[in-house]
Amino acid sequence: MEPDDSVLWARSAEGDTGAFALLFERHAKAIYNYCFRRVGDWSAAEDLLSIVFLEAWRRRDKQLPPGKVLPWLYGIATNVVRNRRRSERRYRAALARVPAAEPGADFADEAVDRADAARQLRHALALLSKLPRRQQDVFVLCAWSGLSYEDAAFALAVPVGTVRSRLARARGALQELDRAEGHEPTEVPHTEETAEG
């Protein structure tokens, strides 16, 4: 049985690089997709993923409540995306040491597929960018990444009530924007299954 996140985090805090690598493998996909959904670029998301975990390692003396490792990583990712230029500057030397990608057999198909996904996301991001930044953060964490209100509140270091109100305002604003672009008013789906406050 694999140790849970809190155990791995505690071991990481003591300098156990193996434990931290396990955390990386466990949550890389979630953070990678979160970064992609914030910037709309797969390649950039890959670099941001590395930055998020390098930043987490740098701050490994942080005491985290049980079950809050992933929300905390989301919080770091939110800050890294927000201060993307500064983050990339800080880790420029580290990013320069990332080994180059080796094309696989199905590389061409995969590249086309990913380019298509990026194009589809770009429109959603254009609409989302019209919201205030704080509402964007809450919306992407709760609606797109499936964090609960409580976890999103932990990630953003704000009260749960603030998450609820920002999310409600973001949904309302997105529906208004959508309607203004001539689309039929459609219900923005609830994320109650995952976003429980």
Partner: protein
């Protein structure tokens, strides 16, 4: 969700990239220092800045404001019991109002400024509080703190503070001294006829005196017409003028009355003129005698 907000489903990293990034992460975290090391350094640096700033901000409360700035510029005043002579000096001071005592507490006199001046000796500015909340100094009394800025011209002898000035002599020492109660005062500027100026520190003496004092030795280069002092100004921390006292006429009057140094020094080369004339006369006499025979 609206079709316009459809987003692609989560994907794994491209094949091989997760392993590559994991390997990269392992190698990078091996290079990083212990967590908090940078932050601890930052905290230590911030604490140092805060302590230094607090110390500098607290200095006015101890009457040390400009003494820190002036640490190497002048002799530091000593906290000594006032000598009997100084106490008598203060006790004999009179207020501007007739028949009213200054109320000076002579026993609490202290040194505000003490300068060592080559060829003169020590110049000391004593200050003492008054019972009415003001103070007296060598400059005079500001018994109730009613005067925000006071200046005084002093002309001293060549060897000691007790020697009488010789009229017309250049072997004299000229001072400007004064005080201010303006709370924003931070320095003194002396302005000259040619538009130039010099700054001199203001030494702030703590409560109950709570006033700034200065003592400025006027260089001989500023005794000449065109370069003489015209005004003394009190400045705030940004160099903005708070008060001004015109002193030009005092200095010019003192020069005219012979109490201050003359504007121009006697050129000793003129002593050669009679000697040269005698030589010429002797030479002419010699030539005349040879011509005669």
């Amino acid at each position: 969700m609206s079709s316009e907000l459809w987003i692609p489903s989560p994907r794994d990293l491209p094949s091989g990239r997760l392993a590559a990034r994991a390997q990269h992460l392992r190698s990078e975290i091996g290079r990083q220092p212990r967590p908090g090391a940078g932050r601890r350094r930052l905290i230590a640096a911030a604490a140092l800045v805060v302590v230094t700033a607090a110390a500098l901000l607290a200095t006015p409360a101890f009457g040390l404001r400009d003494r820190i700035v002036n640490l190497f510029a002048a002799e530091q005043p000593e906290r000594t019991r006032p000598p009997e002579l100084i106490q008598r000096l203060f006790e004999n001071m009179s207020d501007a109002r007739p028949n009213e005592s200054t109320g000076v507490v002579a026993g609490k006199a202290r040194i505000a400024i003490r300068l060592a001046i080559p060829g003169f000796g020590h110049k000391t500015l004593w200050v003492a509080p008054t019972r009415a909340g003001g103070f007296c100094s060598n400059v005079g009394c500001n018994r109730t703190r009613s005067k925000p800025f006071e200046t005084q011209l002093q002309i001293g002898g060549s060897t000691s503070t007790n020697s009488a000035p010789v009229p017309g002599s250049r072997d004299q020492t000229v001072f400007f001294q004064g005080d201010t109660t303006l709370p924003k005062a931070r320095g003194i500027a002396i302005r000259f006829e040619d538009g130039s100026f010099e700054r001199t520190p203001l030494v702030w003496v703590s409560k109950p005196i709570d006033a700034g004092f200065f003592l400025y030795l006027l260089p001989k280069s500023h005794w000449k017409p065109g370069k003489r002092p015209v005004a003394i100004e009190v400045e705030d921390a940004r160099g903005q003028r708070l008060a001004r006292d015109r002193v030009g006429s005092w200095f010019r009057d003192a020069q005219r009355g012979g109490l201050a140094p003359p504007p121009k020094a006697f050129n000793r080369l003129w002593l050669l003129v009679p000697f040269a004339a005698a030589l010429l006369a002797a030479a002419a006499l010699l030539v005349w005698r040879r011509q005669r025979g």
